[in-house]
Amino acid sequence: MATIRSTFGVFSGETSGGGSGVTQVIAGTGLTGGTITTSGTIAKNALSEFNGGTGVSLPVISGTSGVNAYTNSGLGTYTQVNNNRVSTGVKTVSSTTRVGINGLTAGDTVTLSGQLSTTCTSGTFTLAATFGGIFTSVAPAFTGNPVTCDGSSQAIGFTITTFQVGVTNSDIPSNANSEYFAFEYTATATGGNYIVDSFLVDVNQFIK
């Protein structure tokens, strides 16, 4: 289990007379604190974040299908902050995009939100979550779901409000293969496209 303790204070003294001493410290990669010129605190950045941005537009297929949010030709169409113990990543399993989380421990907090749009032309389009591990007992809230298709772009929002691993649920996190979040949709007709407009997962490491 990863444990990190790395907080310290920096106090920069006046050096007018001596002409020597620390005058500026910049907290760089993986650290918070910015530029310290007098006094301040540097700490590790406890936030890990997956920001999917806009995915790829794919045709709506009748029946139930996994949501394949991103292109398989290359990663990096999204941003991620994975500096410390917890890290997020993407894996495509059976044409379904999973966002998985590695390195979780009890006490970490997780928040998830985003939006999917569809231009389905007829019938209905219903979005549902598929998940594993810590997401099992924290079902997302949807807005605009299901969509009555008319060919126009209609949005479905999804949100999991901040929950604490091991407190909100009793699941012991394992790894990104089991701690993942994904979507599937059920369409009653074929026609139009769907696209993930946004997909944000924030994890704050618990430090006590």
Partner: protein, 224 residues
């Protein structure tokens, strides 16, 4: 083997007779690095992002034996722990774990490897086998490292000379793009399922040895 981090920065504060005190030097240590180090005026402190596994001498020779076609794993670590010939740096998110299979430590597993992390790998395999015997080397990594084509080495049969021989193995790329056969395989599970491993399959290996040499693996954490 876990990936415990202890990020320690020593701050040396000394009284200055002329200035009346203040921080004069900051030295970054385990898990942190600074430019310059120590900082005595202006500088930046960064998190260490590179995890590495580097050998300074060959692994103990693994003896060949048997007849017919026999497969031997390339040993990566002596059975004694710690193996002083290998230096492991696990101060960032990524941690190396050595896995034993039977009487051989033959797998290099990784914890915490994630999408867009980069890895470079290089090592040599030294071997000696009876003249006219042959050996075929195969990559049998698993999980996020299961794509044989990402690892460069001589994969065609090699005729043994009876003397010392060697091949080089190398790889360089991005996790989730380069090393896995699966599309968007952007994260690893754990060291038991995501590991590096190589085998040599010999014909009539009645004598000789196989060992790993000049191991150098560097994994650099990615983060926007």
């Amino acid at each position: 083997m876990g990936n415990n981090l202890n990020l320690i920065t020593d701050i040396t504060s000394s009284a200055s007779a002329s200035a009346g005190g203040g921080v004069t030097s900051i030295t970054s240590q385990d898990g942190l690095t600074s430019t310059p180090n120590p900082i005595t005026g202006t500088g930046t402190i960064n998190q260490v992002r590179v995890s590495s596994m580097v050998s300074s001498s060959p692994t103990p020779q693994k003896a060949l034996s048997g007849s017919g076609t026999t497969q031997f794993a390339v040993p990566v670590y002596g059975l004694a722990y710690p193996d002083s010939s290998i230096t492991v740096v696990n101060r960032g998110r990524v941690g190396f774990t050595l896995a034993r299979s039977g009487n051989t430590i033959e797998r290099i597993g990784m914890n915490g490897v994630q999408m867009d992390d980069t890895m470079t790998l290089a090592f040599d395999v030294n071997f000696q086998c009876p003249a006219s015997s042959t050996v075929i080397f195969t990559w049998e990594g698993a999980g996020a490292f299961d794509d044989d084509s990402a690892f460069t080495f001589t994969g065609t049969p090699i005729t043994c000379t009876g003397g010392s021989q060697s091949i080089s193995v190398s790889a360089s790329g991005t996790v989730g793009l380069t090393f896995s056969t699966a599309a968007n395989d952007g994260y690893t599970s754990n060291p038991q399922t995501d590991y590096l491993q190589m085998f040599g399959t010999f014909t009539n290996p009645s004598s000789g040895f196989i060992q790993m040499d000049n191991l150098n693996i560097q994994v650099t954490q990615f983060s926007d």
